[in-house]
Symmetry: C2
Subunit: 242 residues, 2 copies
Amino acid sequence: MYMSDFSGAESLLALEESHPCHDCAVRHLSMCSGLDPGDLRRLRLCGALAAVPAGKALFFEGDPADCIFNVTAGVIRLSKLLSDGRRQVTGFKFAGDFLGIAEEAEHGFTAEAIAPAEACRFSRGRFEDFLAGQPQLERQLHLRAIKDLAAARDQVVMLGRKTASEKLASFLLMLADRSGGMPPHRLSLPMSRTDIADYLGLRIETVSRELSALKCAGLVRLLTQHELQILDRPALAALAAG
Amino acid sequence: MYMSDFSGAESLLALEESHPCHDCAVRHLSMCSGLDPGDLRRLRLCGALAAVPAGKALFFEGDPADCIFNVTAGVIRLSKLLSDGRRQVTGFKFAGDFLGIAEEAEHGFTAEAIAPAEACRFSRGRFEDFLAGQPQLERQLHLRAIKDLAAARDQVVMLGRKTASEKLASFLLMLADRSGGMPPHRLSLPMSRTDIADYLGLRIETVSRELSALKCAGLVRLLTQHELQILDRPALAALAAG
DNA sequence: CGATAGTTTGATCCGCGTCAATTCCAGTGG
DNA sequence: CCACTGGAATTGACGCGGATCAAACTATCG
């Protein structure tokens, strides 16, 4: 059985007065946005800020689900494995995203940092106790779950019915939408080609080929291996829509 | 723009004293299970029981999301379309399941009855007002959303990384698990081959072939076209796990 | 019975996977 | 600054799983 390789203690920075939530850069994005100062202070006591180096896991599929996370920086990759090692990436989490709440006693997926990340790490028990007295926070999280569910359904459609090039176009637009709404002059691809392939249900050779095809068609321009520019967003959107 | 072909009025049976929720056969399965009689009575006033004939839609993708449903009988198929008509079935809902809550103003998928169904139909606005005073009901629904999300992630893995035969095995086991926990001497397949294919991201010919292959391998027996028997559940489970 | 839609089976095709060979690039040390 | 190195990405050749096309079979309902 897997155990998390992220033992929090040494990388925890206590959430003390020296680092209070009201300085948090992503508070307006995250579930905490609706809390008043008193509740925020009590929530803070349920957890601590954790630095997660690139490549390290927050938790593995099958780990006891005793912690939940609020991502404050970096990128987290969510994935599931089949017994023979085939991997499916089920999503990416960015600053402001909430993650790890489970109905089961064990996490249903693995969460790993693909870029150096930070996350507020809460004890599940203490968080749930806190939640019991905060109906509007529960409502917040419920809304986020519904949003995640809609995103998962979109991924289902993509995996089940779209071609390789349509998948890649959908992926690039999804990233562009989530990387701040700004005109994405440069779109960063923090994940490896393997991660992209495992998200799209393809092999890395196919991702590479389709990316080249988009480049040749003039829809995108590759700036570096992990950075590109969308040149023709309408055409990309038309491709993504099927 | 699509409009629902299910105009409720003529098929609504008012939820009056003559048909109170305490006679409801699926109450123990559904979100209402935690409500006391008084709250149940008030919830009842938010909606009505609707009979949905086979083939009729509860709502279409793109319809204003002003109604939500609690399925009490039958089977509901959820699906999404691409612009050129490719269809992906994103799930099936059975008695006791809750359905249609949306974060957006419009439904993100189509919900249609594949077998004659009944559902409690609530006005979204009135239901949300009621919900505001019922934190433990909100919690119920939140938990259901989390469960739906886990199921959607399983479907993502299936679509992205499993072979045709593994997909079919997973599907049959999922149905067996949901068709009451009883020893499934006879497993009913209420949906058409097309529905199964659109759920699994395959074509109906492939579904038919793989079903024949499972039959030849002695894992299942086809009783009728819409009923089968699982003969070797462990082998089927091993196949489904990849 | 016949009509019609749904399902099964067969033959062939093609998109993406597999295998293999470069090429690119970040990091390291001279 | 360049040379080296190992992992990641790209590109090419070929094969296979599932799609497509076509035909026969079966269930349901008048």
